[in-house]
Structure formats: C-alpha cells, structure tokens
Amino acid sequence: MNTPEVEIRERVRQLLDDDRLPGVLGLRAEHGHVGPHVFNSADDLTALVLEPRYGMALVCQAILDGSPKGRLGVVARGCDERALIEMAKLGQVDLARLVLIGLACSEQQARECMCTRPYPRRIDVGEKVAGVAPGDDARVQQLLAQDVQARLAFWQSEFNRCIKCYGCRNVCPVCICDACVLEEMCWVERGKIPPELPFHLIRAYHIADKCILCGACESACPVDIPLTTLYALSQARLKELFDYEPGLDVTQKSPLTTTLEETPLHEL
C-alpha cells in the first residue's frame, strides 16, 4: 500500500493533468523547510509533503480573492474543510471554486491536536479514525473539576503571558472582521502588555459559534496559552445548549443568530 503522501501526489496529478485545474494548494518541502505552495505542474509533486499541518483555509481565501474566477484544488484535512465551510457561511470563500482532496488524519495526529473530528466529510486519502472525545482532554477535565474562582485565576495567569502579537487572530480562519475591535483603543490599550482580560474574551465571544477547533491559534502562540482548551470548553457548551457544531454543513446557521427568531430562549 502506498503512503498517504504518494496517494495525495497521485490525486494532485490527476487534478492538474486530467481535470486541468490551474493549481493545487498543498505543502512543499524546499531548502529543508515546509510551507504552503500552489503546485501548477505534475513535475513538481515529489516535493509535496503532508507535515507539519498548516491551516489552508486562509491561504485558499487569499488566492481566490486575488483572482476573480477559476478553480483551485486544495489538500484539506478535516479542520481545513470545517474552516472553509464556516468561511463560506460568512461569505468569505466560494466553495464552488474549490476542489478538496480530503485527507484523514492518523490516530496520533488526532491525539496531538486533541481533535474530535480528524477527517473531512469525503475522505480521498487516509483512514478514518475516531476523534478524541471531548471528555478525554485531561486539561479540560482538570479545569472543570475546579470552581469558578480557581478557573478564573488559571486563565488570568495564562493570559498574563500574552505579548499581544495578534497571532491568534491572524491565523484564525473564522476571525474575519475588516475592522478588528482588538485594534480599538477603547477596548485594548495601546502599548500595554499583557493586555487586560477582555482581549482574550472578546476573541472568545467573537468566535464562540464559529470556532472549528483547528488549533491554529494555539500553535501560533509564542507563549503557549492553551487557547484550544478555552474554545473547546465554549464549543462543548454550544453543543450542549443548542446541539450545534460549526463547520459541518454550509446550510446550517449558527444558533446564536437564529435561536431567538425560531425558538425563543425560554422554550429551550
């Protein structure tokens, strides 16, 4: 059996040669480094690799925005697909212009990301493995066992390390505002590090019904704030209260924008 890498290369080759796609976005190893790259020719595919995991959704958006028409292929893991679905809901990408090569993550990769759904809807390459159940996350369990004051103290000590690089916002596929309130003086004081608690809570509120738990924010954080744990907790509440998970279906609207119209809160 071929490795997932070899299988993906073959899929990409098919899209370029047989389906005449102008380009397929994947990862390229060059000069001993790996980064996103658009493959235009089947001749370059030996450089296509699958690790480390980069978020592809924002790169797709930048490319599609810059070229008014034409399709793009993309090697997409489960988190990439969910990010693209959420971005499509928000009018950020046109899914009809994308051709996804669905890549399922391995069990080890799922554990590394504490991913609950380590596969896209259609799997082209790789085997579907069960995700990590939300209850299996030791960090989440540890926090939930504590009272509110202890949890607040925990988060404050984590947020105190923040150097306000804005990396969490910059890599987030569902953080989409053109004018970001985190750059407004009335919310976030300029020149002050660490920022006050609202900095992180504003972001948590803004993505509360959109976060697909890709973990891009946490992996971009220079001071290792466990942001995925924070968002996983809020996603668990969303699931519990509204039975809703972002990123699964482009026609499914967020309960935070529809609930009060369709089902008044007191009926929930």
Binding site: E30, A62, G66, G70, N170
Partner: protein
C-alpha cells in the same frame, strides 16, 4: 493567478524568526510563520506579523526629503547626501566627534552594520554606535 510563497527571515531583530511571504500576482500578503523553522517554530511577534505592511504603504518614503523653512521638499540623492555630509562635518568641528551618534539596524545586513560602525569610529571618531533592536 500566480501565487508563490517565499521563504525568508523576519527582518526586524536578531532572533531571526522564519516566515513565508505570500506573493499573489506581485502583491505581498501577510507573512505565514514557518512551522519548520528551528527557532521560531511557527510563531512570530507583532513585528514579524506586520513585516509586510510598509512595503506598499502610502506613507512609505521613497525619495529623500529635506526640511527647509518648516516644509519637506523632495531633493535628489546627491543633494541629500551632500547636505548630510556637510552637517556632520560642521557638528564634529564645532562640538567634537562625541556629539554625534550612529544608529544601525537589525534590518540591515552584517556588512552594512559593519560599515556604519567603521564610519562612526574610523571616519567620524566616536564610539557612539547603537541599534534599533535595543528598543
């Protein structure tokens, strides 16, 4: 559509974090942190995240300006350099070499920084040399 990512190093300080600069049809986009860089491992600070902004900024200076009677006026490079040289010499003559200081930059190459300190020490005669990475 021509999309490229160019592997490079953050130009701001001596840490040298790795980043890819995305270029779409000649337009530079926001850096993508290099996850395989041994030092930065996919992380950047605010300076690295903003490293592309000045390139196409409308506030960017592209020509020398000289302030005369409270207003900036565009001049040629020769005129600008003549003015700087004349003023440096005059200040040194009047107040001595230690009345001058030279700021290098982590954004320059080693060779450029070497040249500036050489200029400060050997030509002007002062050890007042510092650099922006101490900000």
């Amino acid at each position: 559509m021509n999309y490229r990512t160019v592997l490079t190093i953050c130009p701001y300080c001596g840490c040298g974090c790795g980043m890819y600069l995305p270029v779409l049809d000649g337009c530079l986009g926001r850096p993508i942190p290099d996850k395989t860089h041994p030092l930065s491992q996919g992380r950047l600070c605010i300076k690295g995240w903003s490293a592309h902004e000045h390139v196409a900024s409308k506030d960017r200076l592209t020509k020398p300006l000289v302030k005369t009677q409270g207003e900036f006026k565009e001049v040629g490079w020769d005129a600008a350099l003549d003015l700087v040289a004349a003023r440096l010499l005059k200040i040194r003559e009047q107040h001595g070499p230690d009345s001058l200081a030279f700021l290098c930059s982590a954004k320059c190459t080693n060779e450029e920084n070497f040249l500036l300190q050489k200029f400060a020490r050997a030509v002007i005669g002062t050890n007042n040399v510092d650099h922006c990475a101490r900000l």
